[in-house]
């Protein structure tokens, strides 16, 4: 009894210190760009960070349907494209800043997720995965043929009117914000009845249904929620690039990255996508600087994914946790 109590006390005080640690870390990340005013020429690092934040947001979102519910989607870049085009159209034709419209772009992506989910999630397993690939093609062909948004050659928007030196900063903060938002959402879902239901679905859907979990509703909801931050990320990324083209937003590569980062970090864990995104981007950057950017990078991505799937199916976080070596700071499950 006493021991038990001691442990509980320990745990709460520990949770507190973990919270302090994470808070301090986020404050540091928020202060980091200010160094630009002092030293200048941090643009490379700002870019690397904002790119990483974006993928943390996207893979954490993907994890909600792909990890918690166990429904692998290979078409999540559709939400990315929808977000980008929604905000892009408003920017080009109505001159509204994507920083204002991005949340709505996320909502639009979510609504599309609901609609697609209603159809796609009638199937399980392989057929579902196939339908997500078909979703990419469906949207790509439509955008390729839609003259209003420039068709296959795309359209370009105005630059953000800030000097080049500081132009990355607003994107840095926006991406940091959505990364935090996505991880927090993922955390809250993981520790809710809804999250429990999703995990039950991933383990045995029939039993979950028998146990009274509204599986269809849960799956569709998870799919839609997982589209939200991906849509917002798309809106911001489109503005950052200043041009929109189906070939950029609807390559299977972006979807692959979300899957790979989550699997690498640990599917179904809260910290997994975060760790996976950082690890993957670091590895990839290393390869690009060492070997140059060639087609072999695509092959290396595939090889890495195969090795992780075969030998570390639980990913970095999952494997460390299993061996009891996961640093407590990363144990958010």
């Amino acid at each position: 009894m006493t021991r038990n109590r001691v442990q509980t006390v320990d745990k709460t005080s520990f949770m507190k210190s973990k919270g302090t640690f994470l808070g301090a870390f986020i404050v540091l990340l928020a202060l980091f760009p200010l160094l630009q005013f002092v030293t200048g020429s941090l643009n490379y690092w700002l870019y690397m960070f904002l790119y990483t934040f974006m993928y943390i947001a996207m893979s954490s979102s993907w994890n909600i349907i792909g990890g918690y519910a166990g429904y692998v989607s290979l078409g999540h870049n559709v939400f990315f494209a929808i977000g980008a085009y929604f905000s892009g159209i408003l920017l080009v034709y109505y001159k509204v800043s994507p920083f204002l419209t991005a949340p709505f772009a996320g909502l639009v992506a979510m609504v599309v997720g609901l609609a697609v989910g209603l159809i796609s999630l009638r199937t399980r397993g392989s057929a579902f995965i196939i339908s997500t690939i078909a979703m990419i093609m469906l949207v790509k062909i439509s955008l390729d043929n839609w003259d209003y948004v420039g068709g296959a050659s795309g359209m370009s928007g105005p630059f953000l009117q800030i000097s080049r030196e500081y132009s990355k900063m607003p994107f840095y903060y926006a991406m940091l914000l959505i990364a935090m938002g996505a991880v927090y959402t993922s955390y809250r879902i993981r520790h809710s009845k809804f999250g429990l239901g999703l995990r039950a679905i991933s383990q045995d859907e029939t039993k979950a249904e028998v146990a009274g979990i509204p599986t269809s509703m849960y799956k569709i909801l998870a799919f839609a929620i997982s589209g939200l931050f991906v849509g917002i990320a798309g809106a911001l990324w489109g503005y950052y690039l200043t041009y929109l083209k189906p070939d950029i937003f609807l390559t299977i590569g972006i979807a692959t990255h979300m899957v790979l980062m989550t699997v690498l970090g640990g599917k179904g864990t809260v910290a997994g996508p975060v760790v996976g995104s950082i690890a993957f981007i670091a590895i990839n950057e290393y390869f690009v600087t060492e070997l140059g950017s060639t087609e072999l990078n695509i092959a290396a991505t595939g090889l890495l994914l195969i090795l992780v799937l075969l030998f570390f199916p639980k990913g970095i976080v999952g494997t460390l946790k299993e061996r009891g070596k996961l640093p407590a700071v990363l144990d958010w499950d």
Partner: protein, 294 residues
């Protein structure tokens, strides 16, 4: 649209149907026997297309005859891949998802390696029949498409005969129906799976040879193809050979009409729209059995 035009479009659709059916048959066979959705199927087809293309360019080998090279090469390649990647996977609940991710990664590897060696230039072989046409009265038949479809349908018939009348074929069909029961009555399921995977990629090899002169291709092209082929086999019912055949003809003919009315850039949309419609009304496809968590 006059009657002649309608017939002409129908003819064009039919002459593509056989080729699509050949492409889809390998995919559906592999799914039927092993429950593996081979996302890398189209990338292996592209490998065969490059083999055929190089043989034509360097040794002037007719692309249709090159199937005698691409089929055995891709058969061995597929059987080896099976041994390397799938033979020892545990058949638990995560099997379907795991195999999709594995074949997906495999497709990335193939795409990357092909891109490294052959660059992303668009390729196509041009034997004399590729641009030629047979004409009857007011109608015409593109010669290349016509030959390709004849050979494709012939190969599918061969496959059917093999599955129907040989001992190995029967064993493969037994594995399709019920792997556990097949094992009990003495079928070497492991070996049958390897052969079936090899056959699947071998058929893809033949399809790749056809592809080399019918369509332009480059290493990244396989995503588009595999998405179309997957739609075909979902429509037909996953794992059903007859379904793949019927699905292919139905959709290529529909796509030909879509192309006629709305322009060729819209025609691939037919496949994906059909996929969503079928998921909505009959998720198991035309000839499929109701699929559980496969």
């Amino acid at each position: 649209m006059t009657l002649t035009e309608a017939l002409q479009v129908l003819l064009l659709g039919i002459t593509l149907g056989g080729v699509y059916a050949l492409m889809a048959s390998g995919l559906t066979l592999v799914f039927g026997v092993m429950r593996i959705v081979n996302i890398a199927h189209a990338s292996l087809m592209i490998v065969a297309a490059y083999i055929s293309f190089q043989a034509f360019k360097l040794y002037d080998l007719d692309p249709i005859l090159s199937i005698f090279i691409t089929i055995p090469v891709m058969f061995l390649f597929g059987a080896g891949l099976y041994k390397l990647l799938f033979a020892r996977l545990p058949s638990d609940a995560r099997f379907g998802e795991l195999t999709v991710l594995l074949t997906f990664s495999l497709a990335l590897i193939v795409e990357g390696v092909l891109g490294y060696f052959f660059t992303n230039t668009y390729r196509s072989s041009n034997p004399s029949y590729a641009t030629d046409a047979i004409s009857f009265d007011t109608l015409y038949l593109p010669r290349g498409q016509f030959y390709a479809t004849l050979i494709s349908v012939g190969l599918i018939l061969l496959l059917w005969a093999f599955l129907q009348f040989t001992r190995t074929g029967n064993a493969i069909r037994a594995t399709m129906q019920n792997p556990t029961a097949a094992q009990v009555v003495g079928v070497n399921v492991e070996r049958m799976s390897m052969i079936a995977f090899g056959l699947g990629t071998g058929l893809g090899g033949a399809a790749g040879a056809m592809m080399s002169f019918l369509f332009t291709f480059y290493p990244g092209k396989h995503w588009e193809w595999v998405a179309i082929l997957l739609s075909l086999i979902v429509l037909g019912g996953m794992g059903s050979l007859l379904g793949a055949l019927v699905g292919s003809f139905v959709l290529t003919i529909s796509a030909a009409y879509v192309s006629y009315f709305f322009g060729p850039t819209w025609s691939p949309l037919t496949f994906f729209l059909a996929l969503f419609v079928i998921l909505l009304v009959r998720p198991q496809g035309m000839f499929g059995k109701k699929m559980e968590a496969a």
